[in-house]
């Protein structure tokens, strides 16, 4: 008895504020004008994607004490642009990244419940944590949160928000003109929550939304982050798109679900994936190489190297060799407001690895960065890419992918036009939406 064939889930990530996004491409449009968001979202909906995804950053990044100017800079407000997109789409899920450190549960729950009503059940919340005082300088709170408390706050933030969503059961509104009874239950929306982070009570002002609660996404990769996802998330946004890493991650997080009384189908694993298509695989490889050189210019290569080295390397030639000293350990001072910096867990070892690689292959700084910055997840003809996606999903390396185009807003067109029909022919991707809510698309059922 063979395994049943899994259906692929796909999401569209609006190109990010980082060097993956190629703003210098002649086809690159605005990252701020609403028309760019409409264009990408409508492409995703035309292709029957599960959802559209927006990242967030709450302070402009800095490097070397100055605002970082080599990448796309600037983004709209997440909630506002998603609410507007609800008017430009009908079925597509609308996922927003909202920080649990610089917000309050009451306000965020109110906003997501509102978005879920205004989109008729398509809202999703990617819960992220942050602690840095740098970002805190834009907020009343400032940078108060010790690093080791960020997941604790995130967990209690999310469970508090869930209490608020659940404060309305959904049957309280009678709206009976004859009797004059609008609310059957004069206590609807009542809540009270007390813990070390939140001490709140009152009545929640938004009646139960179509999905009950928004779909919860989580992107943490640490042991704590995975545990958080296993306990609380409906979908996990991972960085492990390859077969081996993907399978290991998939088995790990799905294996944690039983501990929370959950079944494997209740957590959808969606790695981020970049892609470059071509008429042939060889053509795609050539295009991919061009894109990677666009993504890593000489100045960008130096800046990315500085992020590992934690040192000013502006005197170095990007076409020359790497520094002959180790990355500086201790407090990271060179780059601020950038999550990727925290991913370098052992900078000295990583720096030695890069130097050895550069020496072995005789790579310049720029060539080395292009190499370690990672190849695109999928490079090939539409047939090849559709096959890879299907294979990875069937092999339980993922349940689908969050696709990150490198050009705004047309970067998904080719995928929608050429790869999606092949996935549909294979019988692993929907040809029409079968439900109306994002929970329907993801097949995750009602909130627990």
């Amino acid at each position: 008895m063979s395994k049943p064939i899994k259906q692929v889930h796909l999401a569209a990530h609006f190109p990010g504020v980082n060097n993956t996004t190629v703003w210098s491409d002649p086809a690159a449009g605005s990252h701020i004008e609403f028309s760019s968001f409409v264009k990408l979202a409508q492409t995703a909906e035309r292709a029957k994607f599960d959802f559209f995804f927006l990242a967030e950053g709450l302070r402009l990044r800095e490097q070397g004490g100055e605002i970082y100017d080599l990448d796309v800079v600037g983004r709209p407000d997440t909630f506002t642009v998603l609410a507007a997109l609800a008017a430009a789409t009908e079925r597509l899920g609308l996922a927003g990244t909202i920080n649990s450190t610089f917000n309050e549960p009451f306000e965020v729950a109110r906003q997501f419940a509102s978005l879920d009503h205004l989109s008729a059940g398509r809202a999703a919340w990617n819960v992220v944590t942050s602690w840095d005082a740098f970002t805190g300088e834009n907020f009343r709170r400032g940078g108060f949160l010790p690093q080791d408390q960020r997941y604790e706050r995130a967990r209690t933030f999310l469970s508090t928000a869930a209490e608020l969503f659940d404060s309305w059961r959904g049957d309280e509104v009678a709206a009976d003109r004859e009797s004059g009874v609008f609310l059957r239950d004069g206590n609807a929306g009542a809540f009270r929550h007390r813990d070390a982070h939140f001490d709140i009570e009152g009545r929640f002002p938004v009646p139960r939304s179509p999905q009950g609660r928004p779909v919860i996404l989580q992107a943490g990769d640490s042991d704590e982050g995975r545990e958080f996802a296993a306990s609380s998330a409906d979908a996990i946004f991972s960085r492990h798109g390859s077969l081996e890493q993907g399978q290991a991650f998939y088995a790990d997080v799905k294996g944690r679900l039983a501990g929370y009384g959950r079944t494997p189908d209740q957590l959808v694993v969606l790695p981020a994936a970049t892609f470059v298509l071509g008429d042939t695989d060889a053509d795609a490889r050539e295009r991919a190489d061009v894109v990677r050189h666009q993504q890593v210019s000489g100045p960008t290569a130096i800046k990315l190297l500085e992020q590992l080295w934690n040192a000013d390397l502006s005197a170095y030639d990007p076409d020359g060799p790497l520094p002959d000293f180790d990355p500086l350990v201790g407090e990271h001072t060179i780059a601020r407001g950038r999550a990727s910096v925290r991913m370098h867990r052992d900078p000295v070892a990583k720096g030695r690895e890069w130097r050895a690689l550069a020496e072995e292959k005789n790579l310049s700084i720029r060539e080395l960065i292009i190499q370690v910055n990672g190849e695109q997840t999928f490079v090939g003809s539409p047939t090849t890419v559709a096959g890879q996606i299907d294979d990875l999903v069937q092999a339980d390396a993922s349940d689908g992918f969050i696709l990150v185009p490198h050009v705004t807003p047309g970067g998904l067109d080719e995928f929608a036009d050429k790869v999606v029909p092949l996935l549909q022919e294979r019988g692993v991707f929907r040809t029409e939406y079968s439900g109306t809510t994002l929970r329907d698309h993801l097949g995750i059922g009602e909130p627990r």
Partner: protein, 398 residues
């Protein structure tokens, strides 16, 4: 250009009367859906009104002027966030201004600034925001973050600058200052996309706002570039001297609640005096009078309409604003008369929708047009433009 009053409509639940939802044509079970609001805003836009406002608070609706006998279970309860609602409506409309309501007291100016800037982008320059305080302990307990102290609304009238209520308004003035600085924190031409040097922005045209006040400090710059209008419209509602001072210091537009023509004159004098005291006598501060309107084709029909609602509610309707009951022609007479005091215009609160909204968009507007006192179509594409305000220079531009 016509020389009549500006006209706006204040949208809220099924209308402003607590029993409005019980009329046969009301759709009280749809107040959480987008379609319900889109239809109302489109009706206002078809009449070329200047803007609509969306009421909002951080708590379930409760009307201090019309207390309920049944713990508010006899009136519409529950609503969606008005900033999101305005954004949801924006792509489906094209000319009308959209002014949601935001509470300053418990929220982050950084978040609201980018939200309103984004509303301005998704509406192509039609955004505004009405800022208000939250003075009740119930709101405070939703956040549990600060003790705002016991406030007495009566303090709003005697102008004591040391009262807790006055502090909330002072904090709101700081909040608006932060909104405005963040909107200017990107110069218009900061995004350069200079392929030759690899620079996406000219960082010399991005500005730290470095605001530090009694209640918060905000570094900046915004994450969202300067919005299409440069500065979206900021409005407030005032019934007394303390909130009028906030409007005089910080707003582009203030809603006031005169009881008659003479009261309108008195209020205007007070607003202008406070504006001068704040050093803004040369800036435009629009003053809009609020009226709750119950309309009918005849005076009797209008009175019957309101009486029916009062009967359903079991009490006569009361309001902070003057209540008008009559025909569209009589309302036209009133607004043209009050307009001569120097009021910029009127924000009309329909007693019940769709009835009184249609009375405004069909009745009143047609009446004013017949007298040559209201535009027959839009003459500007931004809210600032509709209000006769130019796009302001950036405070940080050299």
């Amino acid at each position: 250009m016509t020389t009549g009053p500006h006209l706006a409509v204040a949208l809220d639940s099924a209308g402003w009367h607590p029993a409005a939802w019980r009329l046969p044509e009301a759709r009280p079970d749809e107040v959480l859906t987008a379609r319900y609001w889109v239809e109302q805003v489109r009706a206002a836009e078809a009449a070329a009104l200047d803007f609509v406002t969306f009421e909002d608070t951080l708590a379930l609706q409760h009307d201090p002027f019309n207390p309920s006998q049944r713990g508010n279970t006899d009136r519409v309860q529950g609503r969606v966030d008005s900033v999101l609602l305005a954004a949801r409506v924006a792509p489906l409309t094209s000319h009308i201004g959209l002014i949601p309501t935001a509470v300053a007291t418990h929220t982050e100016p950084f978040h609201l600034s980018k939200a309103i800037a984004t509303l301005d982008y998704v509406s192509s320059g039609r955004a505004g925001v009405r800022v208000r305080i939250a003075w009740e302990q119930a709101d405070n307990r939703h956040f549990g973050r600060r003790d705002i102290g016991a406030t007495d609304l009566a303090d709003a009238h005697h102008g004591d600058k040391t009262s807790p209520l006055s502090d909330l308004f002072d904090e709101t003035a700081d909040y608006v200052e932060v909104l405005r600085r963040l909107w200017d924190s990107w110069e218009d031409d900061a995004e350069i996309r200079d392929v030759a040097t690899g620079r996406f922005v000219d960082r010399d045209k991005l500005h730290y706002i470095d605001f530090a006040g009694r209640w918060f400090a905000v570094k900046g710059p915004s994450i969202t570039p300067r919005p299409p209008q440069g500065q979206p419209i900021v409005s407030t509602l005032s019934h007394a001297i303390i909130p009028t001072r906030l409007a005089a210091r910080a707003a582009d537009l203030v809603h006031v609640t005169p009881t008659d023509r003479a009261d309108a004159t008195r209020i205007l004098d007070e607003v202008r005096a406070e504006q001068a005291a704040a050093g803004r006598e040369h800036e435009t501060l629009h003053v809009f009078a609020d009226l709750v309107v119950f309309l009918g084709e005849t005076g009797t029909a209008a009175r019957d309409h309101k009486n029916r609602l009062d009967d359903l509610a079991g009490a006569g309707y009361a309001s902070d604003a003057e209540i008008f009951v009559g025909t569209p022609a009589e309302l036209a007479d009133l607004v043209l008369d009050w307009h001569t005091t120097g009021l910029s215009g009127f924000r009309l609160r329909p007693g019940a929708v769709p009835h009184d909204l249609a009375g405004i968009t069909g009745g009143l507007v047609q009446e004013l047009r017949g007298r040559g006192r209201f535009r027959t179509g839009y003459e500007a594409s931004t809210l600032r433009g509709l209000l006769g305000l130019s796009r302001p220079a950036n405070r940080y531009a050299a």
